[in-house]
Amino acid sequence: MTRVVITGMGWITPLGNDLTTVWNRMCKGESGIAMIDRFEASNFPTKFAGQVRDFDWKLHVQDYTVHHSPARNSQYALGAAKQAWEQAGLHDYNDLNSDRAGIYLGAGEGVLDFKVYSNITTEMWEDEACKVDTVGWARLASEQLDKWGEIEQEPNVPLWHIAREYGLQGPAFNCLTACAASTQAIGEATNVLHRGDADLMISGGTHTMLHPLGVTGFNRLTALSTFDGDPTKASKPFSRDRGGFVMGEGSGMLVLETLEHAQHRGAEPIAEIIGFGSSADAYRITDLHPDGRGPAAAMNGALAQAGIDPLELKHDRPQVHYISAHGTGTQENDSIESMAIKKVFGEHAKDVPISSIKSMMGHLIAAAGSVELITCIMSMQTNTLVPTINLDKPDPELDLDYIPNESRESKIDVCMSNSFGFGGQNNTLVVRRFET
């Protein structure tokens, strides 16, 4: 099978907007969670989130005028893609066949102008009829809602921005499988390269739901933490007192290419993608199957493709050296993910270090998997495992090694990254340190 390697990566996150800053902060166990100041959230049940700060997308493109008015998710995508593009050395490479270079994103939707939308729909509300006067609404909408703001809400528009910026015309997909989207995108981009449909793919995710309607939706689902205290302590994956996830936003992008293509152009592979597994729970719209069958199937599928038997040790240690958990900090996810990991790794599960970076940067929803895969690769590059912070009260039911609170050094050659979406779409990637 064609080998697929990663040659570039970049991210825009609540912990910073470049690889080094974010990595160093995670190694120190710092949190990027703070009070929301994007909108007036002081009366919302959840008042805090991981917000991207100090980021100017115009500094990350060649000519900002060609991009019209990109929504935040498109802005973050452009910022992360530029880092990945440059790390891959593509800014200095003039022989790229752009017809053989594609894009597979797991990008979320853009942001509705909630203030304007709320004002015009309520202004046109007819009490007696219990409905909106759509005639008046259409007039107000055309006067007050921004045309490009509406167009930018289509989830496939970030893809267009990246394609336009770098002139890429190969295979192009956007998937949106909730929180599993960018892991799925990277797995499917790998498949595009395996089957020879492209030489190089940009893949990853971008999303923000940090707006009043997004926070409302998750608050109503009671999925968000409503922790009443220091926001940096709010995200508590695997802790006994975990109370829901904390919203984050941002983007992670990677350059994937066939090993042959990378070697031909003299690019240095950073890591190799060796396994991808995907499954559907087919159970309930709100809950994971109590047996963890979907996540276990995704992990087993990825490990099988990687040629790894999770029940067999190699050099007296499990063959997977780190798991970047989905680890949202909800009661259900963390319990079932832990159970599924035990199901897959058997008695060796306790010997596989696991952490959730959502404890530090929050949940980037569609983009979460891409920044978590980059974390895996940084772990291999630095032989350092970043912690799950705020894990002061271990849950006696969860007895795996969650790397509590402090980073640690360890030789890391193989990592696994899990992402599970609302609705039961489960995806797992396995990456390996690159060896010729």
Binding site: E40, A41, S42, N43, F44, V66, D99, G102, E109, S118, T121, C130, T134, V135, W137, A138, A141, S142, L145, I151, E154, P155, N156, V157, L159, W160, A163, R164, G167, L168, Q169, G170, P171, A172, F173, N174, C175, L176, T177, E188, G196, D197, P212, T216, N219, R220, L221, S278, S279, A280, D281, A282, I285, T286, G294, A297, G301, G423, G424, Q425
Partner: protein, 441 residues
Amino acid sequence: MAANDAKQVVISGVGVMTALGVGIDPLWEAMISGKTGLRRIQRFDPSGFASQVAGELDDEAFSVRKVVPKSHRKATKVMCRDTELAVGAAAVAVEDAGITTAATSDDPPTLDPARVGCHIGAGLISAEMNELTTALITSTQDGEGFDLNHWGKEGMNNLSPLWLLKYLPNMLACHVTIVHDCRGPSNTITCCEAASGLSIAESRRVIQRDNADACLSGGAEDRVNPLALFRQHCTGRLAPTDGSGDLSSIVLPFGENATGTLVGEGGGILLIESNESCTTRSGNPWCTIDGIGCTQSIADSPLIADAHALTMSINIAMAEAQCDPSDIGAIVPLGAGVALIDQAERDALKQVFGDSLQSIPMITTIPYTGNCMSGNGTIAIAVAAKALREQMIPARLGSEETVGVDAAKCESKTADIGRILVVTPSEGGQCVAMVLGRIKS
């Protein structure tokens, strides 16, 4: 893997939902007789919009509660219209394929659930306006408009707890996988008009790499919603019409006087299956999927198609299908009636087919159903499959004359069709082309 070494994949079940009704037959019958399903929008008063005509499926034609097992009926309350359409189409496809699933019988399923995937194209689902405003209105005070502070404190509690789950694009696939117990690889592609074709492309590849034996695949979308319609107005693609006059000649694919497209609600789900699996269970396939090409446009706007990308996608699909231009007996383009998009399609097809393009009949669906966006490609593919089975070119609505392509208004006719090319450029720039082949008896 060389193209001819890949597993052969077929369409073995067809389910579509359009303004013409439930299933392929009412749509096909209307297309044979040249009767459009478009009408002035009835679901809400469209008078404030420049474009007031769309393809709507009557509420009486379909009830989602009737196509889900009893155990899932409660969940229908948290289905948006897009999801209802997908679940309805999946039920029709499963019935058409003649397979048993968890939804149809207590008997063991025909196919191993772990080997059945699901790839469904979905759009940016617009919240149902009256439902959301019922809650928003509780946070307004006379003369002061909407109060976000009140909303955060109290108002949001008037929204159903599961409200958000109604509008996540992956809920189409989520409900379909639950209803039919499909536990294999699952994905949700959100690429506007290209979403269906790309979803079917993913299903085919999943089967070819042996991760599944079959997939429920396609797309569905409801654009007949005030916010969704407004968003389409923002693109400048819609034909202005108040619904008076001949509704079958508003959308004019490839016409010199084309003024834009119209929206619709609808889509379809197909059972995509390995030929081996279909043969083993004595299924009755509609057609083979012989080649698919996927590319990206880099025109100056995400709203404009790029002929180079379209040409590439067609060439890739035809190369994989190992077919020459002379093998193509009909073309199903997007044919949206939007001048710049039609032009890109015509330019790309001309590049591939040269002067012979004018003698290849086109099948255009949007004048019948409206542009169902993420669901549109499945409707196009289902119609192509039907044309291959029936060996018929359905009647075309639209322009009396078209330039450079055989797409003008005409009656239905019989034809000898071995292969059909389906082409879809999308808002956002993704392009997909697919070559379908006739089942040889």
